[in-house]
């Protein structure tokens, strides 16, 4: 059970600080709060890079450990959301590269598509929306990678400026990319 008084019992507090029984520091609490807020969006984004779930989860852990170091070094607190996605993007791609190098077998696309085609006895309407999802997902997967990233980041709520910073592109390029992708999606949607 938590308690606080043992620190005073230890000789030479600086060395014994490793044995700290104190509550989590303010920075730890801040990181955990940000984790609660951004874990799902970041994890979805990491999964959209085609990482297996356990790798994606590990990447997100790394992101928040980096955030902890970032805050400990008293680096900028501005644009933390963009910062989180940028680190997740970079670490995610790195992990993807490692996986491809080691020829790690990830779930093939068709298997994922089959999972999503879950033939549960849905009402007709749900079936229609599921079909629409699959059609749109197929279009997105056929987009150039950078366009996919733009779209996914926008879907997770990032502003153009943040997307530009994550992907290292200009603001104008972000809006052109999004416009192009939405036009393709609209065509697939029969508009």
């Amino acid at each position: 059970m938590p308690r606080m008084d043992s620190l005073n019992e230890l000789p030479f507090p600086p060395l014994a600080a490793a044995a700290r029984e104190a509550e989590p520091s303010a920075i730890e609490r801040e990181v955990i709060a940000l984790y609660a807020q951004f874990r799902d969006p970041l994890l979805r984004y990491a999964l959209s890079l085609d990482l297996p779930v356990h790798d994606a989860e590990e990447v997100i852990q790394e992101v928040f450990l980096s955030l902890f170091r970032h805050l400990q070094l008293r680096r900028s607190r501005a644009h933390l959301r963009g910062w989180l996605f940028r680190v997740a993007h970079n670490l995610g791609l790195k992990q993807l590269y490692v996986n491809q190098r080691s020829n790690a077998k990830t779930t093939p696309d068709w298997a994922r598509a089959m999972e999503q085609l879950d033939p549960s006895p849905d009402p007709e309407e749900e079936l229609l929306s599921a079909q629409r999802h699959h059609r749109l997902q197929a279009v997105v997967q056929a987009l150039p990678e950078n366009d996919q990233h733009c779209l996914r980041l926008r879907a997770e709520g990032l502003r153009y400026r943040e997307i530009a910073a994550v992907l290292g592109m200009s603001l104008g390029a972000v809006s052109i990319s999004l416009t192009r992708s939405l036009a393709r999606l609209a065509r697939a949607d029969g508009r």
Binding site: S6, L15, E21, E28, I32, R152, L178
Partner: protein
């Protein structure tokens, strides 16, 4: 489509400006122009609605694709907490080491350095001595970080998963009465121990169904700082979350923490040393 400004009203809005308008990414003067145009132009308004509908469709498809794959956050969050605590304590130690190194690195500061060396040796000797003294005091029950299984086999009450999981982990903290505390200390042959040296801890935590029973209570030394109470707290929290997210059977959790909590920690955190401490 007559308008005060024929130049504006005649030219339809580009796809890009429509998207940027929908996203609130246009400069305010341009956004005002687009808004005025949209009021006047059915064509552009229809395109605007199509754009919105495409966005809606994509967002739904995006969530449909990934949301089902997201594992519960509780387990990973507990792991992150433990890793953060480890980083934090490592930093503290490094800070102190850096101070020492800095002193030694400066040329011509032997005057400062020598007393520091002496102090460091003193610290090491003192720690060694106090540790030895502490080890002998707790020799009765091995290393002092694991309870004597004969005296503390663990005791549980009948609980359901929903009872265990209806309360957040942090809220189930029980205090042990003074008389029970004294009994536990007597049982372990350290009746004269100072109160500040030992905490009476539950072997199986209450939030995992453990009871305030002498078979489930043991004196946990404050001084041990490798496998200490904070490390055990982290394990309890992780087990609680694993149980409540359906990833671990409650009885298995009780059994593992009662049999050898340190082994259980290593197993459930996939590590050989406490994550909350530097080695």
């Amino acid at each position: 489509m007559l308008h005060k400004n024929p130049h504006l009203s005649m030219r339809h809005i580009s796809d890009e400006d429509l998207v940027r308008y929908a996203d609130g990414e246009l400069p305010s003067h341009r956004a005002a122009e687009v808004e005025t145009h949209l009021k006047a132009c059915w064509d552009c308004r229809a395109r605007m609605e199509d754009t919105q509908s495409t966005i809606t469709g994509f967002v739904r498809a995006h969530h449909a694709e990934f949301d089902g794959q997201l594992p519960p956050a509780a387990g990973p969050r507990a792991l992150l907490r433990a890793r953060l605590a480890q980083l934090d304590s490592e930093r503290r130690v490094e800070w102190w080491k850096r101070v020492l190194q800095f002193r030694f690195a400066l040329p011509g500061v032997a005057v400062v350095g020598l007393p520091l060396i002496a102090l460091a040796i003193g610290i090491l000797w003192f720690r060694h001595a106090t540790q030895r003294e502490w080890r002998s005091a707790t020799a009765l029950f091995d290393t002092g970080v694991a309870p004597n299984r004969g005296l503390t086999p663990g005791a549980t009450r009948e609980v359901t998963i929903s009872e265990v999981c209806s309360v957040p982990h942090e809220q189930v903290v029980g205090g042990v009465s003074d008389s029970l505390r004294q009994k536990v200390l007597q049982e372990y042959g350290i009746a004269n121990a100072r109160p500040e040296d030992y905490e009476i801890d539950y072997l199986i935590a209450p939030q995992l169904g453990g009871t305030e029973d002498i078979r489930n209570l043991w004196p946990e030394p404050y001084r041990d700082y490798v496998w200490n109470a904070r490390v055990k707290d982290a394990l309890e929290e992780r087990l609680h979350e694993l149980v409540c997210s359906g990833q671990l059977d409650l009885h298995k959790a009780q059994h593992d923490i009662a049999t050898d909590w340190i082994a259980a920690y290593k197993k459930y955190f996939h590590t050989n040393k406490p994550l909350s401490l530097s080695s």
